[in-house]
């Protein structure tokens, strides 16, 4: 028996119809429908994304637990996913997230310079939010845009071939 070919399901004794909102439940259900019934927990990533979006960009422990209940999976398995991927946050964030790729191609093409630039100009360390609350600065693992490195993800948009000046302009454009 392996939890690779048979996921460990946990039947939570809670009423699922009280979790989240009916819109979020419906949206998660469309993702659940993509997988075989016993692999319901495959929908954990889109579920976390939906729930995080509805919560202003970050996940509380209660929300992660609720996702676990909704997908009948162990809580710790949700924490594993939420802490692994850089697009999920477990602490409050600003409305905008500026995610600079720190992986090898971007690093060779100047992402370290971008990171230093943001750190100095906006006085913010990776994982922190600027004092004026304009954006949260994050380092991200490989964004998969190596061809056009260095890449930065702001919100849901990719920006490529960035220089410090170009990044400044983008940040100034944020509301």
């Amino acid at each position: 028996m392996s939890f690779r070919n048979a996921p460990l399901g946990v039947i939570h004794d809670r009423d699922k119809s009280t979790l989240f909102t009916s819109e979020i439940r419906a949206a998660i259900d469309t993702h659940i429908a993509k997988y075989p019934p016993e692999w319901k927990q495959s929908a954990v990533m889109p579920a976390l994304t939906l729930v995080q979006e509805a919560n202003g960009g970050w996940l509380t422990r209660d929300l992660m637990d609720a996702v676990a209940v909704y997908l009948d999976m162990p809580e710790v398995a949700v924490y594993e996913v939420a802490t692994f991927y850089s697009m999920y946050d477990q602490t409050p964030t600003a409305k905008h997230k500026v995610c600079v790729c720190n992986s090898i191609s971007c690093m060779l093409n100047g992402s370290e310079e971008l990171i230093h630039h943001i750190e100095h100009k906006y006085q913010v360390k990776p994982g922190q939010t600027t004092a004026d609350g304009r954006f949260t600065f994050k380092e991200a693992e490989c964004l998969g845009a190596c061809r056009d490195a260095p890449a930065v993800l702001i919100g849901k948009t990719y920006y490529e071939h960035l220089t410090p000046d170009a990044l400044d302009r983008l940040i100034e454009g944020l509301e």
Partner: protein, 791 residues
């Protein structure tokens, strides 16, 4: 696909089954391949990369070294575990693993028995090229059993996989990513599973170590002795680690047929009870109300005189079900030689109406190993996880393999697998079984016949019946009776119905033995109706409840605490108080024994005596004494032998337990465990438990016997909360109680105060009030009416 194929490892031809991994073949052939994440009982993760080897198949080399744990064998495969390419890969992996691992083995508890240390010596470089700072990981508190030092973790994830695959509870996980990955619970909580201690053995480094043992000894100071765990009916094979005559810790020994590779926490940590402050170290005699230490000769002469002078018909011997086979055999021989047939080990049983019809040598019904291949199991009256942790694990395997498990219990259990739970009050257990029997059209004679014929089974009962019948048709069905059934006032009726259900569905009947030697007791003859060799006794004596109900004037208590180990402690203590003479042989000096006994004989506990236990499937497992009993205490069998000599009884000339065992084995020649009833059990009408609020007195996991009750670490686990009364929220509000109230609970003259806990697993009309724990001493039967007033 079943054809064997031959591969070559390091130039040696090895036979392998298709689909097997290289490492499994190498292990069988005794070829060493280093590894951390691979474990034969867990799924393959292939994440440590330590087992990289060079391989080729059909003359074509694999382009890169391959992990031996995740590469299946194929025809014409050649593997090299020590080629320059393989060694380079292994050294590289080791260097990466040591980047963040502290190199301070002298201050690590695992030092000297650490897989990482060993493999680093064998496969690593002598010098580290890494001079940067190492990462530090905050520790978590996993509770009283497991100590953590997570900085040492190398992320093999064996503990995580153990939780998911063996325990069935994902308590641990790997959160974070890359360098920030850590193993933990993420939200701090105690690890509570009853097999959790096994992750200490699984951890290849010093990240998870035993909290009670930590920093008390070094691996090279310890000597090893094989033994058998003295608690549940599995008889897990263990290895004692001893330093200077003291048991320092207990480890499992592999025995696929018994405990696989695991042991329960109860078997692992109970040894701490051996060092309890209240060990009995001298023979004690009560003189003018005070306890006086005396020489053995004096104490035993006194006991012999008392036994000789006593009225044999009014003498009773109560034997703990975890006494060794030899102790039981000698005790019954002594009692019966003196003309006393009153000997019993079924301390918590209350209904003995089936004695004359019971099977002579009841057992599990199937081999322990066969439990995991059952297709349908009906479990009656058993809180299986605390009662029989290892058997619960086997049943979980059965369910995961597609088997159906149904339970009839007086409260809902927390299980780690799907099951059909019929949660009913104690009388309802009989009704539920009648329903299942009715759905199967089971035929019985006697008072239940009409009820079975008339019953309208519920859909659930019909479904249970159908799954039993389907399993029974394949010869893979089982009806099991547990400890709560044995404590039920209608145990005989439950048995009769179990046999009826089993017969109608083609299943077998099995008994979950309550303690390490419950099966052995029948072989030794420690029963009023059964003599040695599981043969009907010539003269049938009184069962335990009758010895105490119309009190015997002389009582011998062997290895038990009367206020905690007996089914009705209030009645037992009163009976013992009235007796003329109470002789107690015990490893511990408990206040209850001091209150009622006239003589206390110190006997050796687990590890301190040689002996034999017969486990649930009837296997005789002998062990040697590993450490000396404390003070003047002596192994129990020696005490009985000398007592026999003093009483001038013939035959008490044994030089060791092997001689006793050989004599009993000769007597048991050809005797096989058999659950076929010796007579008709169905003639007994249900008496019912009575009216009013019903007590469900379960024995918590670490209250099973005197030894576990004295293990401080086990007593601090969440499974052993303070004495309390659990009620269904609706039941509590019907009684005008909330979860902050205290109540006075009363089953006889003396009441006891306890807090109320709301728990919706308890059926209405019932109150779960544990037995065998501090607070329960003044109460009565485990399953009986109880009164409750707000205090």
């Amino acid at each position: 696909m079943t054809d064997k194929l031959t591969i070559e490892i390091d130039g040696r031809a090895c036979e392998a089954a298709p689909g097997e991994m290289i490492i499994a073949v190498a292990d069988r052939e005794g070829i060493a391949i280093p590894r951390f994440c691979y474990h034969k009982k867990l799924s393959i993760a292939a994440n440590c990369r330590m087992c990289l080897v060079e391989a080729e198949q059909g003359g074509r080399p694999f382009p890169k070294p391959v992990p031996a744990c995740a590469t299946p064998v194929g025809p014409g495969m050649k593997v090299q575990t020590r080629s320059p390419k393989a060694i380079e890969a292994q050294q590289g992996t080791m260097e990466f693993l040591l980047i963040n691992h502290p190199l301070d083995c002298p201050i690590c508890d695992q030092g000297g028995e650490c897989e990482l240390q060993d493999v680093a010596m064998g496969y690593g470089d002598g010098l580290s090229r890494y001079s940067e700072g190492k990462r530090v990981v905050m520790d978590e508190d996993f509770g009283p059993l497991i100590a953590t030092e997570m900085t040492r973790c190398i992320h093999c994830t064996r503990c995580v996989r153990f939780g998911a695959e063996i325990a069935g509870v994902r308590e641990l996980g790997a959160t974070g990513r890359g360098e920030h990955m850590r193993i933990g619970t993420y939200v701090a909580h105690t690890i509570a599973h009853e097999l959790s201690g096994n992750i200490i053995d699984l951890c290849p480094v010093g990240a998870l170590t035993s909290k009670p043992y930590r920093f008390t000894a070094r691996a090279w100071e310890l000597t090893e002795a094989d033994s058998i765990a003295p608690h549940d009916g599995v008889g897990s094979n263990v290895q004692l680690h001893i330093r200077r005559g003291q048991v320092m810790r207990v480890h499992p020994r592999d025995n696929e047929a018994v405990n696989e590779t695991w042991i329960s926490d109860r078997d692992r940590f109970s040894y701490a009870g051996l060092h309890a402050a209240d060990r009995l170290t001298h023979p004690l005699v009560r003189r003018d109300g005070a306890w006086v230490a005396v020489e053995w000769t004096e104490a035993l002469t006194l006991v012999a005189e008392r036994l000789k002078a006593a009225d044999a018909a009014r003498t009773g011997w109560l034997i703990a079900p975890n006494a060794t086979l030899e102790e039981m055999y000698l005790a019954q021989a002594l009692a019966r030689a003196l003309g006393c047939p009153n000997i019993d080990h079924r301390l918590r049983q209350r209904d003995f109406r089936g004695d004359s019809a019971d099977p002579l040598l009841p057992w599990l019904g199937v081999r322990i190993e066969e439990l995991q291949s059952r297709e349908g199991v009906l479990l009656i009256g058993s809180d299986i996880r605390p009662e029989q942790p290892m058997l619960a694990h086997r049943l979980r395997k059965a369910v995961l393999a597609g088997g159906r498990l149904a339970l009839v219990n007086p409260y809902r259990l927390d299980l780690t697998h799907p099951a059909t739970q019929l949660v009913v009050n104690p009388d309802g257990m009989v009704d539920a079984l009648i329903g299942i029997a009715g759905a199967l059209d089971a035929r019985v004679t006697g008072p239940l016949r009409d009820r079975i014929a008339r019953v309208a089974p519920t859909p659930t009962q019909q479904a249970v019946a159908a799954s039993l019948k389907a399993a029974g048709a394949n010869g893979k069905g089982l009806v099991l009776l547990g400890a709560l059934a044995a404590a039920h006032p209608d145990f005989t009726v439950l048995k009769a119905l179990s046999y009826a259900i089993a017969a109608a569905s083609g299943c077998q009947v099995g008994y979950l033995p309550t303690a390490a030697n419950s099966v052995g007791a029948a072989l030794a003859g420690a029963l009023p109706q059964v003599g040695p060799g599981a043969r009907p006794a010539g003269q049938v004596g009184l069962p335990v409840a009758e010895m105490l109900a119309a009190p015997c004037s002389t009582l011998v208590l062997w290895g038990l605490e009367p206020d905690l180990d007996l089914g009705n402690p209030a009645q037992a203590m009163a009976a013992l108080g009235q007796a003329d003479c109470v002789i107690a042989a015990s490893a511990f000096r408990s206040p209850a024994l001091e209150a009622v006994a006239q003589v206390m004989l110190p006997i050796g506990a687990f590890t301190e005596t040689s002996g034999t236990y017969v486990n649930a499937d009837g296997v005789w497992q002998s062990f040697q004494g590993a450490v000396a009993p404390p003070g003047e205490a002596r192994p129990g069998w020696k005490v009985l032998r000398v007592l026999g000599n003093l009483l001038a009884l013939p035959g008490f000339e044994y030089s060791d337990t092997a001689a006793v065992r050989a004599e009993l084995a000769a007597c048991c020649e050809g005797v096989q465990p058999d659950n076929t009833p010796a007579g008709d059990l169905s003639g007994v009408p249900p008496v019912g438990v009575g009216a009013g609020l019903m007590r469900i007195g379960n024995v918590p996991i670490y209250a099973l016997d005197g030894l576990v009750r004295r293990s401080p670490a086990l007593q601090r686990t969440p499974a052993m909360g303070a004495f309390s009364v659990s009620l269904h929220p609706e039941q509590a509000s019907a009684l005008g109680l909330t979860d902050e109230d205290h109540v006075e609970v009363r089953q006889g003259e003396v009441g006891v105060r306890a807090p109320v806990i709301l728990d919706d697993r308890i059926p209405l009309g019932c109150a779960r009030i544990p037995a065998g724990v501090a607070g329960s001493e003044s109460l009565g039967d485990q399953i009986a009416p109880v009164s409750m007033t707000k205090a």
